[in-house]
Symmetry: C2
Subunit: 298 residues, 2 copies
């Protein structure tokens, strides 16, 4: 089976390397960044800078780019992958996007004679590297069946939420509401603890062993404790994703006061120039509001 992965970032590279290891798949990777292509080629894959340079006869395309606009360009733009796909191929679209965008892209795939799986993922870069992502998929049974060899190689859990494109993206956006608020409130709690004179590493150890823990608290707070701003996932991702939460919520007439507040904190971190830093550094918003010193600062 000829498979293409578009986007060799923190998630896409992990998925692509697992596809290379899976039997029976011939895997091409697409990324404009040369360093990513070199890494992928060194692992035995075929790398291209543009989707238009993919070989003909691609049977499944896994798209792991940042948003709907990048997805649309990668598939249907002038240098997109769609013309390289064999009839009846499946587009597995894993970027986080508005459910309306997923429906629109699915309709466009149908117009081109291609199957479409609305298939956002969770699990982080570590989950992607381990082939242990969770996939929240919606689409036809035919699309799911065609995508199965790819999904089995990159995920340990595949949810099929229904036939309608958009359901997968809806669940992912709701999931990001939790993820984003959990990262922001982790920062709020750590910053308050620091202000109140609690030793930050002890606070982290206590919380992670108690009922106040979250997956994000446990995963992200160490970046602050270690003063390590290297982005595993960046502040800007949650500026975008909590924006999608607000869009979805308004579209179904539903108020989300906690997500809206958390969004403002990520926007503040971005406003201060930290948009490209690790999302745990939303704590810069609390620092600006209060003047606290973070671990590692004098």
């Amino acid at each position: 089976m000829r498979v293409a992965v578009i986007g060799l970032g923190s998630m896409g590279m992990g998925a692509a390397l697992n596809l290379l290891r899976a039997p029976g798949l011939e895997v091409s990777g697409v990324d404009p960044r040369e360093a990513a292509r070199v890494e992928f080629a060194a692992a035995g894959g075929t790398a291209a800078a543009r989707a238009a340079d993919l070989p003909d006869g691609i049977e499944a395309v896994l798209v792991l780019v940042v948003n709907a606009a990048q997805t649309e360009a990668a598939l249907f733009g002038p240098e997109g992958a769609a013309p390289r796909c064999a009839p009846g191929s499946v587009l597995i679209v894993s970027a986080t996007m508005a459910p309306d965008d997923a429906r629109r892209l699915a309709a466009r795939a149908a117009d081109s004679g291609l199957l479409y799986l609305d298939a956002p993922v969770s699990g982080g870069a570590a989950g992607a590297r381990a082939g242990a992502m969770t996939v929240m998929a919606s689409g036809s049974e035919a699309a799911l069946a065609r995508a199965r060899p790819v999904l089995d190689a990159v995920a340990t859990k595949v949810w099929h939420l229904g036939e309608a494109p958009g359901l997968g993206s809806t669940v992912k956006v709701v999931h990001q509401l939790l993820a984003g608020v959990h990262i922001a409130v982790a920062a709020e709690a750590m910053a308050l603890g620091i202000r109140a004179g609690v030793e930050p590493r002890t606070l982290y150890e206590i919380v992670t062993g108690a009922a106040g823990n979250s997956w994000m608290f446990e995963n992200r707070v160490p970046h602050v404790l270690d003063a390590d701003e290297t982005p595993r996932s960046a502040v800007d991702i949650f500026v975008k994703d909590l924006g999608l939460v607000g869009d979805l919520a308004r579209s179904v007439a539903f108020p989300t006061p906690l997500a809206a507040q958390a969004h403002q904190l990520f926007v503040s971190a971005r406003a201060q120039g930290h948009g490209g830093k690790d999302d745990a550094f939303v704590i810069r918003a609390y620092q600006a509001l209060s003047g606290i010193r973070l671990p590692g600062e004098e």
Copy 2:
């Protein structure tokens, strides 16, 4: 060692039953509610309605009541336990309270010749029943040493945060910031998912297996899915505890926008008459804001 447990509620009863099982302890329980006393006596303990009715020569008192006012009355009020304590006994105070209240009560204990351990707990009713609480303690080494046989029987993890009373309560209040926001945002996400047409039980299963999970999401959302309002911990507890968060934050000049917003949602649930229901039913605030139907409702 003669031990008294004051407050045989969801946490206190669990702790008291574990103390009964520990070797070398003679355990009395105090609760004004007859049903609690009957349950404790049936398990082999000595039960009293008022702390004043405890036997003389108590060497350790574990206080698991709701707040600082109840703690003060139970220890130093006209019917309090202090006169029943042997000189050099330890008061182990586990109610969640403001750090200032902990410092004030510690000073009062010192005036009475008693040791004081500021010792809030986490772990929920299940953790208390299992003898698996986490204790966030501060106080003198002498107080900790005297309290050790009691702590070992009720907790799997005892943190000693320092000598100064108030440190334990500070950490607990910061912990409750996380706990309260996590419960409220669990409600926000589930309610948005319901509004957007996602099957609630599927959403729960997906989140608990993904990076959006929290201890509270996993523990509390099933109460909503099962339409079970029986309070394991009530809405009113978080009206109180997020109030303590606001008090602490103001006292150290620190803004807590997420905790403040979550607090308002618990206050709304209480305003609607749900203060005594399980805290997961903070989701009634979102229901009132949006008109959604919860699982089990027509």
